[in-house]
């Protein structure tokens, strides 16, 4: 997490272009990752980042500095909202209705073995519904009730989507391990 001082934040709020450009350059990569993890495609992620920064600079006067991480968290929330809006635009049927998956996860610790980059790649490859619920629940820390309100779905649907997302990820990891095992063997 990138931290920013209050003095720097004040400069950004006073529309100091130099400070705003520095903020943009420092946060672009992190925010691009956030957006890409939600929308799954590069072009849409770029659009989300740009719209998010535009909104952040326009609404900078509403931001109140509390601690060094607050600016990062504020911009990140803006990016998540932009990504969710993009998902709603591009995926009106967000929820994956039927899929033949085992009802319970086989090995829950299998995801821990993955590196951050591998895990990121696997999440972006998930279907939109699974990916969104997984990101909101696991990464953002939303409850199922909040997810249901945000995505306009029921809580049970949110739980089902999360479970299926976990199973899908574990299956993928197992498949990867088999491939690597074959190569190693």
């Amino acid at each position: 997490m990138i931290t920013f001082s209050q003095e720097f934040t004040n400069r950004c709020q006073k529309a100091d272009q130099k400070a705003q450009k520095e903020l943009f350059e420092k946060l672009y990569a992190s925010m691009y990752r956030v957006c890409l993890r939600y929308v799954g495609r590069q072009l849409e992620a770029e659009d989300c980042v740009m719209r998010g920064f535009m909104k952040a600079f326009q609404k900078f006067s509403t931001f109140e500095w509390q601690h060094e991480n607050s600016l990062f968290g504020w911009i990140r929330r803006i990016m998540v909202n932009e990504a969710l809006m993009e998902i709603r635009r591009s995926n009106p049927m967000l929820i994956v209705q039927s899929e033949d998956l085992p009802e319970e996860a086989t090995d829950e610790n299998v995801l821990d073995q993955l590196s951050a980059e591998e895990l990121f790649k696997l999440i972006t490859e998930l279907p939109a519904g699974y990916r969104t619920v997984f990101n909101l629940f696991v990464v953002e820390g939303f409850s199922h009730q909040e997810i249901a309100q945000t995505l306009n779905i029921s809580e049970s649907t949110s739980k089902t989507q999360l479970l299926k997302a976990r199973i899908r990820l574990q299956m993928k990891v197992q498949k990867m391990n088999e491939v690597y095992g074959n190569y190693a063997g």
Binding site: Q17, R33, F53, M54, F57, Q58, S115, A116, F120, V138
Partner: protein, 227 residues
């Protein structure tokens, strides 16, 4: 526990993915281009000052006594204000005024036709209706000598302008006339009008490059009107 590990791993990613190298400068310029221009907020008291000024000027205009207008109108304007009946064009010209009139000959592009038409005998007619002759100059005889038509009032002026316009519209741009024995007017035109607008018709020698010798012998004239 597992979710916390996943969250930490994903949040630790603060670099761009491999193979993706965007130009941040160009993206920044794009971002700045998309930003709306900040509107300069005009303080409210400036609006109040502007409104009070407008009100002050309006009341000042309405309440201040207006100075008496000086009558600087001309005679012609006075006649209009008094609403005197404007005489018709026919009445403006005295019937006693006899004007020598020559039969006009219309010159065409071809010179042969022009020379034929130049040998038209003069026709002495008493012009009781000069204005009508002006209006229908293409068909009827036109006045042969300088004639001053006196008219009063603005309406008669406009009517005369209309008459001149209709004359212009006709194709008879040049009128050739014979003035071997023009008849002088017996009685002078009485000038008893208050406001006067004069129309003068001049007959000028025509300069033609096609056959100057024929023109010299026949002495054609070109009608020019000024007002």
């Amino acid at each position: 526990m597992q979710d916390k590990l996943i969250r930490e791993k994903l949040n630790s990613l603060d670099t761009l993915p491999e193979g993706y190298v965007p130009s941040l400068d160009s993206k920044w310029e794009l971002l700045m281009a998309g930003q709306p221009e900040k509107k300069k907020r005009i303080p409210e008291f400036w609006y109040a000052i502007a409104a009070s000024l407008v009100l002050l000027l309006t009341f000042g205009y309405l309440l201040l006594p207006k100075p008496a207008k000086q009558n600087t109108n001309t005679i012609a304007h006075q006649t209009i204000q008094t609403k005197q009946p404007v005489p018709a064009i026919k009445e403006l010209i005295q019937p006693e005024a006899k004007i020598a009139v020559a039969k006009p000959v219309i010159l065409t592009k071809r010179l042969q036709k022009a020379t034929k038409n130049a040998r038209v005998k003069p026709e002495k007619t008493q012009s009781e209706n000069v204005s009508e002759e002006i209006i229908t100059a293409g068909k009827n005889p036109a006045p042969a000598i300088e004639q001053t038509i006196l008219m009063a009032g603005l309406e008669s002026e406009l009517l005369a302008k209309e008459a001149v316009k209709t004359v212009k519209k006709r194709k008879a741009k040049f009128v050739e006339m014979d003035f071997e024995s023009p008849v002088e007017p017996k009685a002078p035109i009485q000038n008893n009008q208050t406001a006067q607008v004069q129309f003068r018709f001049k007959l000028l020698p025509e300069t033609s490059e096609q056959n100057p010798s024929a023109i010299q012998t026949e002495k054609p004239f070109r009608l020019q009107h000024t007002f």
